[in-house]
C-alpha cells in the first residue's frame, strides 16, 4: 500500500483525518489551558507576596531583594 493510498483511505480519509486532527487539537488545548492557569496563578501569588513584603516592615526589604534576584 502506498502512502497516498493510506492517506486517501479509499475515499474515507477526508473524514478520518479531520476527526483525529480535531481530537488531538482539543486534547492539546486542555494541556495548554491547564499549564497557563498554573503559570498565571503562580505569577499572581508571587506578585501578591512581593506586595505584602514591600508593604511590611522595611526590614523585609532584604527578603524582597532575594526574591527578585531569584526570578
Amino acid at each position: 500500500m502506498s502512502l497516498a493510498e493510506f492517506i486517501d483511505m479509499g475515499g474515507h480519509g477526508i473524514y478520518v483525518w479531520p476527526a483525529y486532527t480535531i481530537t488531538f487539537i482539543v486534547l492539546l488545548l486542555n494541556i495548554v489551558f491547564a499549564r497557563v492557569r498554573m503559570r498565571d496563578l503562580k505569577r499572581d501569588l508571587k506578585n501578591q507576596q512581593r506586595l505584602m513584603n514591600t508593604q511590611g516592615k522595611s526590614t523585609n526589604s532584604k527578603l524582597v531583594a532575594s526574591n527578585e534576584s531569584k526570578t
Partner: protein, 259 residues
C-alpha cells in the same frame, strides 16, 4: 467475634485517616505533583501505540470501509464523557455530604475536560455519520441525549463562573451535577430503549464484545490512554485550584517563595 469487630473498626479507621490525609490540601498538592508526569507520559505512549494500531495495523471493515477507524477516538471520547460526568456527580455528592473541599475541587476541575470529550464524541460521530449514514446529524435518542450532556457540562461551567463565593458555587454546581446525572443512564440505554440510527452496543455486551480483537485491542488502548489523559489534566487543574483556594495559608506562601 469481638476480635473481628475490632479488626473491622481498625481498618475503617485506617481508611478514614488515609482519606483525611489525602484530602489535606498540602499533601494532595505534593503527591499529585509527583504523580502527574507518570500519568502524562504513559498516556502519550499509549496514544502513540493505539493510534498506530488503529490507523495502520487494524484491518479495513468489510461494511464501513476505513471510516470505522474513527471508532478508536469516538468511542473512548464518548465513554469518557459519561465517566467524567459520573465522577463529577459523585464527588459533588461527597463534597455536599462530608464537606470535603477536595471533592469539590476534583468536581470543578473535571468540567472542562468532560465538556471537551463530549464535544469530541459529537464531532467525531458526525464525521463518522456522514459516510456511514449519509448525514452529519440526526435527532435520534443517542445523539440528542449526548448533546444534552454537552449543555450540562457548559451549564456547570457557566454556573461556577457566575457565583463569586467559592463555597456557594461548590454547592450549586454539585446539585446541578447530581440532577443532571439522570441523563447518564438515558444516554447509555438510548440505543436499547429506542430505535436509533446510532448502532447498538458493541463492546460491553453480556455475550462478549461483538468486535474482532484486531479492532478491540486498539480501542481498549485508546480508552485507557484517554482515561490517563483525564487523570493527568484533572490533577494539573486541581493543583492550581488548591493553590488558589489555600492562597493565604503558610504552606502555599512557602511554595510560592521557593518557586
Amino acid at each position: 467475634m469481638v476480635w473481628e469487630q475490632e479488626w473491622l473498626i481498625k481498618m475503617l479507621n485506617a481508611i478514614w485517616r488515609w482519606i483525611q490525609k489525602f484530602s489535606s490540601p498540602k499533601y494532595f498538592y505534593n503527591i499529585s505533583g509527583r504523580m502527574t508526569p507518570w500519568f502524562g507520559w504513559s498516556c502519550l505512549l499509549l496514544i502513540l501505540v493505539g493510534v498506530y494500531a488503529g490507523l495502520v495495523l487494524a484491518p479495513v471493515d468489510y461494511q464501513q470501509g476505513n471510516s470505522y477507524r474513527i471508532i478508536f477516538i469516538h468511542v473512548p471520547s464518548a465513554w469518557m464523557s459519561l465517566f467524567i460526568y459520573i465522577v463529577m456527580a459523585i464527588s459533588g455528592a461527597i463534597g455536599l455530604i462530608w464537606r470535603i473541599k477536595l471533592a469539590h475541587v476534583i468536581s470543578s476541575s473535571s468540567a472542562l475536560i468532560g465538556a471537551s470529550f463530549t464535544f469530541l464524541a459529537l464531532i467525531t460521530g458526525s464525521l463518522w455519520g456522514k459516510p456511514t449514514w449519509g448525514t452529519w446529524w440526526v435527532w435520534d435518542a443517542r445523539l440528542t441525549s449526548e448533546l444534552i450532556l454537552l449543555f450540562l457540562y457548559l451549564g456547570f461551567i457557566a454556573l461556577r463562573s457566575a457565583i463569586e463565593d467559592k463555597s456557594s458555587a461548590d454547592r450549586a454546581t454539585a446539585v446541578l451535577a447530581l440532577v443532571g446525572a439522570v441523563n447518564i443512564p438515558i444516554i447509555h440505554y438510548s440505543v436499547t430503549w429506542w430505535n436509533t440510527l446510532h448502532q447498538g452496543t458493541t463492546v460491553a455486551r453480556l455475550d462478549g464484545p461483538a468486535i474482532h480483537s484486531s479492532m478491540l485491542i486498539p480501542l481498549l488502548l485508546m480508552a485507557l490512554a484517554f482515561k490517563l489523559f483525564y487523570v493527568t489534566i484533572v490533577l494539573m487543574r486541581a493543583r492550581s485550584e488548591v493553590l488558589d483556594r489555600e492562597r493565604n495559608s503558610s504552606w502555599v506562601q512557602e511554595v510560592i517563595r521557593s518557586s
